[in-house]
Amino acid sequence: MLHDLPAQVKIVALVLFVGAVVATPREAFWAFGVHAALLVGAIVIAKVPPGFVARRLVIEVPFLLFAFLMPFLGVGERTTVLGLSLSVAGLWGAWTIIIKGTLGLGASVLMAATTEVTDILEGFERLRLPKLVTAIAGFMVRYLDVVVGELRRMRVAMTARGYDPTWIGQAGPIASSAGSLFVRSYERGERVHRAMLARGFDGTMPSFEQVHVTPKAWMTGTAIPIMSWLVAIVAWVIR
């Protein structure tokens, strides 16, 4: 169900959900529980394997390490937990980073798992992001593989002539290959521009079809974030 929603609905839903999580007061533990339950519910509905989400969440680890240090390094009022003296402000800071970061990232992973990159780009375009910006992002997506392929071929060519990247004295070739990769990419940019001109490009990207989004799709897509906002508002009121 989530897979079929138009990308712009999912982008708006993601932003709304993250906004609701950020707006929730940090003391309202129950509210974060509800946010998490809503997110897990959405993941289940979308049939995204939990293992997939868990692997993608690994990117958060460096931030979590930082968060774990905060109670020890924080200043001000202190409290004792299991014999350790911890900063109260640091504990709150760590809690906020961990819960808000994880919920936000989880929602982003859900979106990435249910939406093709190209659809995300089109979604941003339909949300009236400037066409130049989406075009640049599109070129990046399109040419990442091409540039990585060029880099790989250059490495193979270097290895074939005795290049051994483990030896520190061989740092020079890496630097020069970065330079030639830049030149190659620049030249490709020129050739692509020619190909664009050849097909009538006059400086502005053409408009493509606008997919009409039904009110039902908007309602389905934003149901969960709206519930999150209700939770955030209630949490503020009863605080």
């Binding site: 050739r191 050849a198 009538g200 079809e209």
Partner: protein, 235 residues
């Protein structure tokens, strides 16, 4: 005789560094002809191609497409009429999906909505790639990308198709598929190559280019049968 689909007269071009790439090119192609332009590396083939729809401008001489001079006034119309297909499909296919890429040309000429969808579907069908419409170009094989590259140009309904080295780097099956597809297209065609077998297979007429000029122009059988002429021109 009919107005030539393409008419190049005494075309000269020097690069900004002073190197002369074209030294007086003369030829014309009539509607419906399939012509091969042969030449060794550095003979000026690609430079000539870039003049055919106004990406490079002549230092001297003229290029006319179906009677229209290649000048700023007609640039857009010229670019619709002359479909250039570049050697590296990774240069030609720059949009994130095949659908967008094929739509890029006609959309630039103001085609929209259902009309645009029809053009895209029709062009992909003509090259046998309709199943790839929602795929990303970098997920296609080289042969498939070449065919989609042809579709990006066909979608503009050009009057003349100019292909730069269409067979390079293709495996034999890819070459056969591409030539079989090209023979089904009913359109004026100029094939720039140094693949003699390809020229013989697809074209009735051959031009040979050397050092920035056309040095031979005639029926394919006659020119491709002249071993000495070919050898003199590094073919």
């Amino acid at each position: 005789m009919s107005t030539p689909a393409l008419e190049v007269r005494n075309l000269t071009y020097s690069y900004p560094d002073g190197r002369q790439a074209l030294a007086g090119v003369d030829f014309h192609i009539h509607p419906g002809e399939r012509v091969a332009l042969l030449g060794a590396n550095g003979a000026g083939k690609t430079t000539l191609v870039l003049h055919l729809n106004g990406i490079l401008r002549p230092s001297g001489g003229t290029v006319r497409v179906a009677g229209l001079d290649v000048t700023d006034d007609h640039l857009k119309e010229i670019r619709r009429r002359v479909g250039l297909i570049f050697q590296d499909p990774d240069d030609q296919l720059f949009m994130p999906t095949v659908r967008r890429d094929v739509a890029f040309g006609p959309a630039n000429f103001g085609v929209q909505g259902a009309d645009l969808d029809r053009r895209v579907a029709g062009a992909l069908e003509a090259v046998g790639m309709e199943d790839a419409i929602d795929r990303a170009p970098h997920h296609l094989s080289l042969g498939e990308r070449r065919r989609v590259a042809v579709a990006t140009v066909l979608a503009m309904s050009p009057e003349i198709l100019v292909l730069d080295e269409p067979s390079s780097n293709l495996d034999p099956a890819g070459r056969r598929e591409l030539s079989a597809m090209l023979t089904t297209l009913d359109i004026t065609m100029m094939l720039v190559t140094h693949d003699l077998a390809y020229a013989r297979e697809l074209c009735g007429r051959v031009l040979i280019m050397s050092r920035g000029t056309i040095v031979a122009d005639g029926p394919a059988e006659q020119i491709l049968g002249d071993e000495r002429l070919l050898a003199e021109n590094r073919l």
